[in-house]
Every structure is written in structure tokens, then in C-alpha cells.
Symmetry: D2
Subunit: 133 residues, 4 copies
């Protein structure tokens, strides 16, 4: 259960050292995550607007091996660990430039209901989609 | 009807040329605008959450004279033109480093009601605050 | 002399009102500008690294007609006015969602040499590319 | 060896859920880190421009306990572990709103020389400052 997406580094994402600013990878990860969710579970906007469920992050981490630079075309692989469902969902990310692994990371999320304003378990109607994938 | 606030340039705001990235000044302007609103009209969060009014921007512009750099401590002056009330409100901004004028700009806003989802005139209970200032 | 590029609105670009934050359009414009430069003049990274020329912005403006929202797929058209060359170059931008024009804007740039640390005219070897296009 | 700094949450830092976007805390951490470096070691700009040394991050992590919201005034505590010097330096961060701990995190950095384009050990003239603090 893995998705891939291509990202081209923008000028606005590069810092004084000429490399992608260290927080920007979390924005890339979010693109990968939204992609994965759309493919395997539910469009994220629909999740927020129709199901009234958000996925706030409770933990994340990044390991930097090589720098991405302005105009680099990088490939983000997103792999999801669904073993902690329905309470948590964890995404793992790998960012490549060609064959070079630049950055790895993860983010762990819980499910939050905007209506009850409480942490919830992922509703069965959504989690079933994953099981039957 | 003018406010001033100090801003210190962050590393994350500086680009590959070592200067503040050109869109970041709009983030600074927003700080000045929130400041002005809090001082003369109403705290912006209160405006959104209590009055259910937002101030979407309909036009803005920036003129760049000199660059702000990493760690520069700059002074933002915000002057508001309230002559177009209650339909519009326009803010003018001047960003100084010491005596040097670095950047000028403006933003023009209308009033939007989150409940009726319509453009509105600024309610009298709010606009009166400005008149009696 | 016009280029087009597609942009998908990221979650990180959307604000508390659920719409693209007003400064983010300048980041989109920069993508359109880099695209245009690559197509008609010179890859921007090459311009900075090989020719040692940067294009600092001296003025820009945005007019907001409709809001772009999270996950919107928008089309950015970039048209360049080269009549002020070799001293200045001005880009005009139009952002569409389907047939709806959301935002228009412009940015005016001069040419800056990183080596002499001076404002320069665009070297003939580069400006000729435009004339013979 | 600890520093503290106050940060006020900007509108541009808040996402569609009304809370600080998850990558923004790394920008806050960088403010705390620059502060700590200035206080105990060397102004970061001076380090880049005079000593030609950068501190690229090799690893970082964030744990989210509670959300910071628009206009929250938060306090960032930065504590540095210098036991890995002169090869690495690790910063630990705690972000408070009043007595509530919102977010914790860390970032681990190495030293990079912009002139030799190599990873280096922190020069003695700089590391001595820390020992005699």
C-alpha cells in the first residue's frame, strides 16, 4: 500500500544555503499523505468536509541524508502502516532524487471529529475500504 | 491612525539570494494589519470568532526599494485609510530598517460574513469605534 | 510569448478561512515566471549559477477575484512584457480554475549581477534569445 | 545552558483546522536555536558569513501534545546538548502556552564548511566559548 508522487523544488522552498529549508519536507510529506489517502482511503478534503474528521499529527520525524536543491525533481514514496488502526495511522516517507535517497521521515496521526470535538476511532465505513483493498 | 511594530527577519524567510523572499512581506503586512485592527477596531480573532466577519483581501501591491536580510530588525508602520468604510478598508505599509525605507505596500479588503456567506458592510457597532477614536 | 502551468493547491497553502493565503499567489507566480524564463530565455538556476545574474523584484501586485481552495487544480498563464528590456522585465499572471479567472497579478524585475554587486542591463547574449524567438 | 524566547502565532502560520500547521514548529525551533547560538556560541549570521560554517540539520523530530492557535503567545525553551561536540550539536525544544506544554522536539546538526564544501569539526576557537561559559 504505497503511492508515489513527483515534486519539483520551488525557489520559495530554498534557503540561504541554497538547499530546501528543513521544514519544507513536512509540506512534501503532506502531499504524499494526501495522495495515499485519496488512493486507498478517502479524499482528505472529503474527509474533513463530509465525514468531519481531521488527522492531526501527534508525532513526526525527519532524517536528512542529502540535500534537495532548487529545481530538483524528486520522487516521494509514501508507505502506510495501518496496523494501529482504528486508533492511529502512521505514514513513512522516502524522498529520492534519481537513485539517491535524500530524506526519510514519518508522521503518526490520530482521528479527530470536528463535530464532537473529540478524538475518535476511524469509523468502520472508512476503515473497511482499507481492509478490502 | 497609525501603528508600529518591530519584526526580526527569520532564517526561514530568506531565499537563495540571502534576502527576504518577495512574498514574505505580505506576511509582515498581515502582522501590522492585525496590530492596527486590535488597536483601533477589534482583535482579528474576535472579529472572526465572535462577529463571524473576515477581511478577505481584494487587492494588494508591494514596492521594493532595498532588501531586508537575515536577522535584520525592521520597523513596520501601518496606516489605515478608513474613507471607504463601511464597504472597504485599505491599509498602507512602510517597512524601515533604521532610517532606510525598504519596502512600501498596501492591501485593500472587504468584509465577509462567514454565516451568511456574503460580502457585507462593516456593522455599525464596529465602525463606530473608529469614528470616535 | 506565453506559458502555462498547472498547480494543485496544497494543504499548507490554505489558511483559517479555508482559502489560499494571500501571499501564496506570489509563490505560484514565481513558478510561472521560472517556467517562462526556462522556455524563452534561460533556466533560472543557470542564470544565477552560470551567468551570476539574479532577477530581484522591484514591484508586484495582485488582484483577487475569487478564492482558490484546498485541492483546487488551477492553471497559471504567464505573459511577459519584454518592451522594457534590457533594463527591466515585467511578467503578467492570470490564474484560472476551469473558465473562472481567480487572480491576476504582475511582477517587475531588474537584473542584478552577483559578482559586481550592481544592477546591470540584460547581457546581449541572453536578450538576443528573446528577439529571435 | 538554556534560552527562552516568546513567539506570537501569526495568521499565516495557521491552517484550515485553525491550528498552527505542523511544519511551522520547525521554524519556531530555528528561532530558538539562533537565539541559543547567539547567546552561548556565536551569532548564526556571523558563523555563516565570517567563519563560513553552516549547521545543516541531519535529524529532527516533533511530538505534538496540544495545538497552538492564532494569536497564542507561546514560550519556547531551547536546551542544548553539547556532549557530542565537536562533531555534532543537538538542540531540544519545549513550547509552552502558560503552564501547558504544547510541543516538544529536537534537531541534530553537523558543521559544514562552505569554503572546503566539507563536513568539519567545530573549530576550537568557537567550541572553547562553550566550555568556558
Amino acid at each position: 500500500m504505497k503511492t508515489e508522487c513527483e515534486i519539483k523544488v520551488r525557489y520559495s522552498e530554498v534557503d540561504r544555503m541554497g538547499i530546501v529549508y528543513y521544514s519544507r519536507y513536512l509540506e512534501y510529506f503532506e502531499i504524499g499523505r494526501a495522495n495515499w489517502l485519496e488512493h486507498f482511503l478517502c479524499n482528505y478534503k472529503e474527509m474533513e468536509d463530509v465525514y468531519k474528521i481531521g488527522l492531526p499529527v501527534i508525532e513526526c520525524g525527519i532524517t536528512y541524508k542529502k540535500s534537495a536543491k532548487y529545481e530538483d525533481e524528486v520522487l516521494l514514496k509514501t508507505i502506510c502502516n495501518i496496523s494501529e488502526l482504528p486508533k492511529f495511522i502512521t505514514f513513512n516517507y522516502e524522498l529520492f532524487k534519481g537513485r539517491n535517497l535524500l530524506v526519510t521521515g514519518f508522521s503518526k496521526h490520530l482521528f479527530y471529529c470536528f463535530e464532537s470535538k473529540k478524538v475518535i476511532r476511524l469509523p468502520a465505513q472508512l476503515s473497511q475500504k482499507l481492509i478490502f483493498e
